[in-house]
């Protein structure tokens, strides 16, 4: 049903992270968008906010469900995908192509605790 993208890291709470240099780009997985159904609203932080690994940084809402977004990494939010304000359905269309926030990493060792695609795929199967 849902796909898992290679070459990105995953949190157990279904966020994906792609790292380039010291910037981590974060979104939610295809599995997560599938589970939520039609996404109608995304609540995201503001640029300049600090996020912490394991803490909530926002929420996604469908018609009859809401799910917190948990940050897989710590750092400062340097960019927020403002397109999602008017077009939250982009996440349903392409979960891996639609990022939510970009974070300047404050501790890159946190990445080691995240799952690779194979391990994440296993969680989705369960």
């Amino acid at each position: 049903m849902s796909t898992v993208k290679e070459n990105v890291k995953y949190a157990e709470s279904h966020e994906w992270v792609m790292v380039e240099g010291e910037i981590a780009t974060i979104g939610i997985s295809d599995y997560a968008q599938h589970a939520l159904g039609d996404i109608v609203y995304v609540d995201l932080p503001e640029e300049g906010d600090e996020v912490e690994a394991g803490e909530t940084f926002g929420a996604v809402e469908s018609v009859k469900a809401a799910s917190d977004l948990i940050s897989p990494v710590s750092g400062e939010v340097v960019e927020v995908n403002s397109e999602l304000e008017d077009a939250p359905e982009l996440i349903n269309k392409d979960a891996f192509g639609t990022w939510m926030i970009k974070v300047k990493l404050s501790d890159s060792s946190e990445l080691d605790a995240l799952l690779d695609a194979a391990a994440y795929a296993k969680i989705c199967e369960e």
Binding site: D38, V40, Y41, E61, S62, V63, K64, P88, E89
Partner: protein
Amino acid sequence: MKEYDKLIFEISRPGRKGYELPADRYATDGLGAIPASLRRDEPLDLPEVSELDVVRHYTNLSNKNFGVDTGFYPLGSCTMKYNPKINEELASMREFSGLHPLQPAETAQGALELYWNLQRALSSLAGLEEFTLNPYAGAHGELTGLMVMRRYHELRGDDKRTKVIVPDTAHGTNPASAMVAGLEVVEVKSKPNGSIDVEDLKPLLDDTVAGIMMTNPNTLGMFETEIMEIAELVHKAGGLLYYDGANFNPLLGKVRPGDMGFDIMHINLHKTFSTPHGGGGPGSGPVGVARNLVDLLPMPRVVKNEDGTFGVLTDGDKSLGSVSTFFGNFGVMMKAYAYILSLGRDNIKEVGPMAVLNANYIKESLKDLYKLPIEGHCKHEFVFDGLADKSTGVTTLNVAKRLLDYGFHAPTIYFPLLFHESMMIEPTETESLETLDEFIDVMRKVAIEAAEDPESVKNAPLTTPISHPDETTAAKKPILSYKQMCEANN
């Protein structure tokens, strides 16, 4: 009947009116004395319609509604019992409806006596010492009750107790009320049969726990048989027990929450005591407490004076404060008390048992076609986990919508969260055997349709004024007023 699809704004014609007021006989110009800078500049775009326009418009709207008076309404955990008509009439008596909440107590003795009588009646039915009738609804009662709990610990000088334990099966209101009351929620796990896992509870009970919120029978309609042990454990740990009265109906005549060790509870007068739900209120959520908590109740309180008259308390050192502008939804209380008087001390004992009999009768009549996840005698309601035969792809939502075609309201669906296809059925005691049999027949028919022609069920409803509304667009691009609708159409 012709299909009516207008908004009141759309039948407006400039210059039309639906009122008549006395002529202004004052030689003063009051509004002129208010500076223009404090007066409204913006135009006031409200409907201009005749009296008959209004009457037809809302009568037509009412025809698109389904109420208890229309048909069977087995909405689980909502206790949709019959709303007696005499109650409506009595509550609108001018001798009560014309009373200002701040008029001198000596001039409102009848209202105060009724109010006090209802406090006494609920105390007796609940096995608790005293009630406040101020809270406006069940959730408001929960919030008030949790404030009592926090005030109790505060007065003891115990500021460590910041957590409240809530079963993972609880209705969402419980944790939300705890959040509003400033308490942190700790979930206690349920056993596979839905009752609280006492072994999981024990380690949670430390000196940071203010108390536990639970209902009995629980969310699945099953009695928590270990309630006495739970009460003892919580009390021993220094906490209080809160009883969510959403499920009080089956206990009427059989068990009093106070006797099970509960210290605080709320009652939904619009469930157990027959006052109408009004399409979502006004309800009333009185909160009862044990003896040691009486002085903590919110103000105002109605008391009986030594000389037999009735008075109003507005201040108290120990009181938690206030949760309402005045006395609460007094009109709703009048209806509830009329119901209590109609039944009286003997007939009221039949309420719980007959509600339980009705629920078990439906359960036993359908459990071959619908999946019953928990065996045993339920109380006032029970939960099916969808159709027994899941191979057709017909969901609980489909069954619920198909019931509408057959003239029944749907059960509560997708709650509790314990099962994927929850369908929660509560018939109440006011329904006759014939009505239950009709419902059972239709439920069986829908199960057979699901097996033989699943698409027809998935397509339901077919006979209602609308079908399959687009809720996604509604949430994505909210249109919440006529003005926004006009803007969206342009």
